[in-house]
Symmetry: C2
Subunit: 304 residues, 2 copies
């Protein structure tokens, strides 16, 4: 299952995609776009602080790669990838707020409410979320029906039944002890929903059949499960300098994670099992799906 | 310009529309919809607290009436009207937060962060905003192109270049003195953008020509200007029991309004001028636009 030889090349590929996404996001957050022209410069700066200059850009990469598997170009996928990243970043800006996780540091930099102020951070998050739907709707390289499907799915996966709902359940976990099943549900919503969207977006925007949508969606759910397990494991084993954010927070707050409940050996075994399931799902697509396979291994076995 | 005889009938019509919208919103916020099934019940309750049971529902009414002017039914317009109201309500939930206007009372009831908690209010607002775009995208009675145009326009008018941007400028006004031009720009964004969207949504969803979109948009901007002037005037002259919210807040915070700068007589004259402009804009549509004319008079001359 170890894949140390392939990792450097994969990480280069991921880094190149992230650099492209940075440019797409810079253009999407420029002062002269159809969606943003006339916006107050300070609010735009806060949005840029929250969305630019950091992160692995895993979600955009998944959108690009799931689109490529069905023949759609990175260029056609870019507005959807950028929209998803705007939503991911808005959620970080709001999660970091004093009333939520109260974090001062994100990717080694001050969080938006620390660099600006709390009200501006709320509004910058709101505006990033709002922008995302406009970016999908105006993606003129995509058929109208695909754009509408993507807006609907994104609304569901980012909203009360998806990421926002998962965050609400996570907050509830600070005052009550969740069962393993409840933890799994919370994480499937909080982390899994956007990753499932990322993987499913490819076949949707490429006009692939429903059966492919289902396979890619399940693949995205697996990525979500692996991502969260690896994240919780790193929260226990890594240090803040390596991660660029605070660690040991879950434990300090009494939040139970599956690695904390089941132990590190169980967690590593579960991660291997998830990678095997992802590889099995992707087998019918042959060599073309190699990057998605590597993505699963990267997410499960990453060290930062 | 006075229109006291027509008002009771108009207010009945507005009330009937509000009652219909309450039902549409109840259905949109039910636990078993495509967009929300599986959402945590407490978060849904907070969303309902923020969106149901109150308000004049002026924005949905404008969507319905501007759609009717071009032959579209209230049923076809309903999802767009509901989406717009979700966005209006999300903005109230976030504006009421301690880091923003810090209000305990809204429509005579506790604000969402008082009835629930601050984190839940942030997430409920986020989720209402997210839901709105899904509601427009899934409005299957409307042509795909109309839905996409509406998502794009709503993203612009609700985002950094519209309502959220106006709110950011309003916050800045607490620490710096705005010029009259800056106040006008802030209010055109904060209040005007969603009302302009409401009026322009009708011709868009009914597939009317671009020229009609422009007329209705200008009408919506006038409604926005009149709404804000009347609101600021009421903030100076009415009492909290009549309005169901705190009054005199702007003055207490040192925020300048146009009525405060120019006086009540100037304000009443300006309101009459705006109503006359709205009537002139709508003249080509004849009798069919009578409700929109009455709406302008209602907004300008309301007493609560």
């Amino acid at each position: 299952m170890s894949d140390s030889a392939a990792r450097p090349a994969f990480e280069t590929q991921l880094g190149q995609s992230a650099a492209r996404m940075e440019e797409v996001l810079q253009q999407a957050l420029a002062s002269d776009t159809a969606l943003l022209s006339g916006a107050p410069e300070r609010l735009l700066e806060a949005m840029r602080h929250g969305a630019l200059g950091g992160g692995k850009r895993l979600r955009p990469f998944l959108v690009e790669e799931s689109a490529a598997l069905f023949g759609a170009s990175a260029q056609a996928a870019a507005p959807v990838a950028a929209a998803l990243e705007c939503i991911h970043c808005y959620s970080l800006v709001h999660d970091d707020l004093p009333a939520m996780d109260d974090d001062d540091l994100r990717r080694g930099r001050p969080t938006v409410h620390r660099a600006f102020d709390e009200a501006t951070a709320i509004l910058a998050g709101d505006a990033l979320l709002t922008l995302a739907f406009g970016l999908v709707a105006e993606a003129s390289a995509l058929p109208a029906e695909a754009r509408l499907s993507l807006v609907q799915l994104l609304s569901r996966e980012a909203g009360a039944a998806g990421m926002a709902g998962g965050q609400a359940l996570d907050l509830a976990a600070e005052t009550q002890t969740l069962s393993e099943a409840e933890i799994a549900r919370m994480q499937a919503m909080k982390t899994g929903a956007l990753l499932a969207f990322a993987a499913e977006a490819g076949p949707i925007l490429a006009g692939a059949p429903e059966a492919d949508r289902k396979v890619l969606r399940r693949y995205g759910e697996i990525i979500g499960l692996a991502f969260q397990l690896a994240d919780d494991l790193l929260d226990e084993t890594a240090d803040a300098a390596t991660l660029g954010k605070a660690v040991g927070k879950d434990q300090a707050r009494g939040k139970k994670t599956l690695p904390a409940l089941r132990g590190q050996d169980w967690t590593r075994g579960e991660l291997s099992r998830l990678v095997a399931e992802a590889e099995s799902l992707l087998a019918p697509y042959g060599e073309r799906a190699e990057t998605l396979r590597q993505t699963a291994r990267f997410v499960a076995f990453r060290t930062r």
